[in-house]
């Protein structure tokens, strides 16, 4: 293991250039866009989870002063092309998606009609005037119930509610189980949550019937993917569709794949030949955008007499909702495949299933398959208690050591540059494990207080390079005649600070000042094709694309300068904006002079040399790059109220070479807060008929500053096997935290023999567990 040396810019906590505009109210989010002739849309949505539309009358709405149009399935559906994301175009497990509900409805919130009016307020008035009668039928709200024999069908076009099933049952596991001293089995439930970006979804779709152009301003993580979907869905040639996204107010996966609501607005704009704006309201976002998590997982762990893991079996069932969005709608197989995580588990069998239900679509949310960490890490604690070991000790006996690398998992994935044992020990030391155990016993015996410590150790697959079109990013690095540099990227930064971090990478590679580099992204007319921002991929894929294009530009700069100085290009380097002969800094030419010559003094270029100074290069990531971390947390559970208070929170992580440590810490802290919220507070609730009960932020509880403790972050920097040595960091915080918090609460409850298996861990669930244990 080597510790990378920070560069002049890479590795520095450069302050973000995005901040001045965002801090002064001068950002440009989609709702800030306005154009001449703009009209506003509001959706009529189903108020019933399942049923037949018996009556839909739009006459009164259409007659309202200020209403421009009322659009239903009859107007749009037949003319719509595929609504599927590129990665799912030919996926046989796709739900039968339609633009607007047609004949029946399949979840509460499903769009049935769109009212378009002079203002949003009038559009909403119009929605109230649409007469919609639905004859309700039985709904399935739970994935286990959905797969029970005789369950009502969510999609009448399909013969069951089984969206996906992948069994990987290997004889090695059965052999391991047969010789195990302990076989521990438990079922864990992770409840329904929703990403809740502070900016909801939104679109301004501008259709120009004369030119055929369709220009959509979107709140999106992935402009190029949105452009492809919009081109297919609206039948517009790809080169006539432009997607722009300037500032995006968070996404967390929800805005990675374009969803039907935005597609419908683009179809409506094209139908009307004008500009239409739709800004989702919070109620719509909570009931009808995407939900996440919602897993039921049974794990069987086989161990020898000393607590060494021999094998595991994982039975994962996920709730896909009615119309799962994007590849992450079916994350179940990843839960099985990535289950071994940071442990030496030589034998693995799994079965992964996804079920359609009459609920909001499942979509990506910061670590879409993170149930593998939730169920594995909870299982480690359950198994440790079952065989009488401290959970930390069971982890120590099974964690993969650096000396065992490269290590290949039973699924054939090879870890090369991870440090799980180091992060485990760093986190345990930071939390003060042994001292905490002493204090825990003292507080319990002397004062009856319930303290607990929990760990979560994981290896995160980042930036899947083999997963077209998500594995490749392109960058254009263009030196302007003035010498300043414009970088265009296909990314869709929505809080990650890519305008800053990618400029750091380019400036480092070119040898010029970071303030001479500007990064432009979020515009399909400007940027080369790219993968967007998600899947913990920007540092690996985006930064290395920037690096590749910068290298070409740097070489060409040196060629031009070599000609000017009558030196050999290989003898030159660029330092502080000067192209100079290595070892002879007095022989140099200014970077700005090279740029000027390249464009405006071309007679001084070598014969046949290309004019201008720019390059576009792409980078495709290896199939998987693994990052790793360990979270450790201590809590106190109040046995009278059931309320959990976090005492300390420690993260030890290895995301490889950091581009900007300040931003790395921010990514981790944000993810941890979401995971704490998920474990303790956030819960999307449906009643038995499929009616959502959490439709405001007074019901769906996001944590505030008062609930989130100080988060102590420690780094181990082990370079990954890519040019920059980076690993992903966007999702990890949210992957590791729920199980750590859960295990800490379970550790506290174990003092009085109470057991918990399911999230969330609100006061009600904790008091129920204590009561069940006779406490």
């Amino acid at each position: 293991m080597s510790t990378p040396v920070a560069g002049r810019f890479v590795g520095q906590s450069v302050l973000r250039r995005e901040d001045p505009r965002l801090l002064t109210g001068r950002g440009t989010y989609v709702d800030d866009i306005t154009v001449a002739g703009l009209v506003h849309a509001a959706f009529v949505r189903s108020h019933v989870a399942a049923g037949r539309i018996t009556h839909l009358d739009i006459a009164a709405a259409r007659a309202l002063d200020g209403v421009v149009a009322v659009i239903t399935a009859a107007d749009l559906n037949a003319g719509a092309g595929s609504l599927q994301p590129t990665i799912q175009l030919h996926d046989p497990s796709n739900a039968p998606l339609r633009a607007l509900a047609d004949g029946d409805v399949r979840f509460v919130g499903e769009p049935v009609a769109v009212v378009i009016a002079r203002s949003r307020a009038i559009a909403e008035d119009g929605c109230d005037l649409v007469a919609l009668d639905i004859d309700p039928s039985a709904a399935v709200v739970d994935p286990e119930a959905a797969l029970a024999p005789g369950a009502p069908l969510v999609h009448r076009e399909r013969d069951s509610n089984l969206a996906q099933e992948m069994p990987v049952l290997l004889p090695q596991y059965d052999e391991a189980k047969a010789r195990a001293a302990h076989v521990v089995r438990a079922t864990f439930r992770q409840h329904r949550q929703t990403p809740s970006p502070m900016e909801t979804r939104g679109i301004v779709a501008i259709a120009n019937p004369a030119s055929g152009e369709l220009h959509c301003h979107l709140s999106t993580q992935n402009p190029h993917e949105a452009r492809l979907v919009l081109a297919r869905a609206t039948g517009t040639p790809e080169h006539l569709v432009r997607v722009t996204a300037r500032d995006v107010g968070g996404g967390f996966g929800q805005k990675f794949m374009l969803q039907r609501d935005e597609i419908v607005i683009a179809l409506a704009a094209k139908h009307l030949g004008r500009a239409v704006k739709w800004i989702e309201d919070r109620r719509e976002n909570l009931i009808a955008s995407t939900h996440a998590r919602t897993d039921v997982t049974t794990v069987e762990l086989a161990l020898d007499a000393d607590g060494h893991m021999l094998g595991a079996f994982v039975d994962e069932l996920e709730d896909a909702g009615a119309f799962p969005v994007g590849a992450a709608g079916g994350a179940a197989s990843a839960v099985g495949a990535f289950f071994p995580g940071a442990y030496r588990i030589p034998a693995l069998s799994w079965i992964a299933r996804a079920a359609w239900t009459n609920t909001c679509p499942r979509g990506a949310y910061r670590g879409p398959w993170m149930m593998e960490t939730v169920c594995r890490e909870q299982m480690v604690d359950v198994a440790a208690r079952a065989i009488g070991l401290d959970p930390l000790e069971l982890r120590r006996r099974n964690v993969i050591a650096t000396t065992e690398l490269p290590y290949t998992t039973p699924m054939g994935m090879t870890y090369e540059a991870i440090t799980p044992a180091e992060t485990l020990e760093q986190a345990a030391a930071a939390i003060g494990h042994d001292a905490f155990r002493t204090e825990q016993q003292r507080a319990f015996v002397a004062e009856g207080r319930l303290l607990g410590v929990g760990y979560s150790l994981y290896v995160e697959p980042c930036a899947m390079g083999s997963m077209d079109p998500l594995g490749t990013e392109s960058a254009t690095v263009r030196v302007q005649p003035s010498g300043t540099v414009l970088v265009s990227l296909g990314s869709g930064s929505h809080g990650q600070g890519l305008e800053t971090t990618m400029a750091q990478v380019v400036a480092e590679e070119l040898g010029i000042d970071v303030d001479q580099v500007v990064v432009v992204q979020g515009d399909t007319d400007v940027a080369p094709y790219g993968r967007g921002t998600g899947g913990s991929g920007s540092a690996i894929i985006g930064a290395n694309a920037c690096r590749a294009a910068s290298a070409v530009v740097r070489d060409r700069t040196c060629e031009i300068a070599a000609h000017l100085m009558e030196a050999a290009p290989g003898d030159l380097e660029v330092v502080d904006g000067e192209v100079r002969v290595k070892g002879t800094p007095t022989r140099s030419v200014a970077w700005t002079e090279v740029a000027r010559v390249a464009y405006h003094d071309t007679a001084r270029l070598a014969a046949g040399a290309r004019r201008g100074l720019e390059a576009t290069e792409s980078y495709t990531a290896p199939p998987v790059t693994f990052a790793n971390a360990c979270h450790a947390v201590t809590v106190e559970v109040d046995a009278r109220t059931g309320i959990t208070t976090i005492l300390r929170y420690v993260v030890s992580e290895d995301c490889g070479r950091m581009i900007n440590p300040m931003i790395v810490d921010g990514q981790i802290a944000g993810g941890v807060a979401q995971g704490i919220g998920g474990a303790l507070y956030e819960h999307v609730v449906y009643d038995g008929d499929g009616n959502p009960l959490t439709t405001t932020f007074m019901d769906y509880l996001l944590p505030t500053a008062s609930e989130i403790p100080a988060i102590e972050i420690h780094h181990i920097e082990t370079p990954a096997n890519n040019p920059g040595g980076h690993k992903g960091v966007g999702e990890g915080g949210a992957i590791g935290s729920p199980a750590a918090v859960f295990n800490a609460v379970a550790d506290a409850l174990a003092l009085v023999g109470a057991e918990v298996r399911d999230q969330p861990l609100g006061p009600r669930q904790i008091l129920a567990a204590l009561t069940a244990a006779g406490h």
């Binding site: 302050l15 002064t24 900016e199 810490d665 008062s706």
Partner: protein
């Protein structure tokens, strides 16, 4: 629906506009006056993204009607600090000398990475400005309490809490701007 004439003071300037009785102050500021820095994230008074100063007090602009603001003084995020050179000047010309014409709360948020996507940020900046006007040297508990009326989904609040502490220093004028490496939360 009949429009009403609404005359008020916004960011120190007399402003006038038309509003239906049902139009919220937030929609009026955004749509009628073009002040799009006030953001709407829940429209039911929980998240605090739309916080503005109303006669000096922090209020949620989604819970007030525009007509209620007639004759009053409103300060939005655009009025919290001198504007940079113009829209987006900071990003498009990062080396510009007037970059960072920020007030102390804004400067502190930048130094401490108290924002990521920036959508909740105007509400936080306005809330924290009002909070520090009332409580210029807060304890940690007072800071958490003062922040608990605003939701942020990106930062995990670490950078925001640090920014409030830093803003206290900057407002006291005692300390020079920190180097980036020293300003991490």
């Amino acid at each position: 629906m009949a429009d009403h004439d609404v005359a008020l003071t916004v960011n120190g300037e007399p402003r006038r506009g038309r509003a239906e009785a049902r139009t919220t102050l937030a929609d009026f500021l955004r749509d009628e006056l073009g002040l799009t820095g006030t953001h709407l994230a829940c429209e039911h008074g929980v998240c605090g993204s739309c916080t503005v100063l109303f006669d000096g007090d922090a209020v949620r602009a989604c819970l007030l009607f525009a007509v209620q603001a007639a004759g009053h003084e409103v300060v939005t995020i655009e009025g919290i600090a001198p504007a940079p050179g113009g829209p987006d000047r900071g990003a498009l010309d990062p080396g510009a000398p007037d970059r960072g014409a920020l007030g102390p709360v804004q400067q502190a948020f930048m130094e401490c990475h108290g924002l990521q996507c920036g959508f909740c940020t105007p509400g936080f900046v306005v809330s924290v400005s009002a909070f520090l006007d009332e409580c210029s040297d807060p304890t940690d508990a007072q800071i958490l309490d003062g922040l608990s009326g605003n939701l942020c989904r990106c930062t995990g609040y670490q950078g925001i809490v640090a920014a409030v502490r830093r803003a206290v220093e900057l407002r006291s004028g005692a300390l020079p701007a920190a180097e980036p490496s020293e300003s991490r939360p």
